[in-house]
Point group: C2
Chain length 141, copies 2
């Protein structure tokens, strides 16, 4: 397995509290996200908070997917870290749609050994994309 | 709980394979990292790969800590996402020392609702710190 990976960090806004507060729904959607990125699931953990909020992670052979929800704020924090050549973006798109997100932003960070990234240069900002809408990326600098 | 959080993304290089390949050691150190950042643990999951490599996550009331190790490459990928005003850096420093990291780099991303960050401006690059050594940060731009 190559160490180089893509770590997608996403914020979803205006999400549907009926979904984001439902631990079983979160579990199903996070597993669907793992499946759509063609990851191999090797573990998982979930927790529901009182009065509301769900947190969960799926461990995959290629790293992890995590989700943390604040239903009363409409906010969901997602990160999908994939090594082994997998593309994390379809997983993010699936989750944004499943949570009923009205707006989102995401950024992607390249991770791994220096020689696999770009000759030991900094990871930022050239290796980071900031996305303001699904399907539209702009490169910093 | 405020939604605003700090997400520290770290790469450790030159780590000790005897530690990074030991799932029990990883579990102990990740829990110690959760403790030093004063987080409340609410769940966990771990997996050991063949021929080597360990992946693990601790769910905390304030989000999560994750670790993925490539013992034969000396590489460890860590991320610590803390909401609720917790500082993730002591956890990163503890893990770097525990893994015997010779070099590391880390960056920190501010996450949360737009009005809690900076009036709906982009998260990057002003909200990101890139650290090249422990204790030394430089702000991009």
């Amino acid at each position: 397995m190559k160490t180089i990976g893509r770590h997608l960090i996403a914020e979803f806004y205006g999400c549907d509290a009926a979904i984001t507060g439902d631990i079983e729904a979160i579990r199903q959607h996070l597993n669907a996200a793992a499946e759509i990125v063609e990851a191999t699931v090797v573990g998982e953990a979930y927790h529901r908070f009182e009065p509301d909020g769900v947190t969960g992670v799926v461990l995959i052979a290629e790293s992890h997917l995590s989700i943390h929800t604040w239903p009363s704020r409409g906010y969901v924090a997602v990160d999908i870290f994939t090594c082994g050549g997998l593309d994390p973006r379809p997983g993010c798109e699936l989750l944004a749609a499943a949570m009923g997100a009205e707006r989102l932003r995401y950024q992607e960070i390249v991770r791994g050994l220096p020689d696999e990234i770009s000759g030991d240069t900094t990871l930022l900002p050239d290796d980071v994309l900031v996305m303001t809408e699904l399907g539209q990326a702009r490169k910093l600098r």
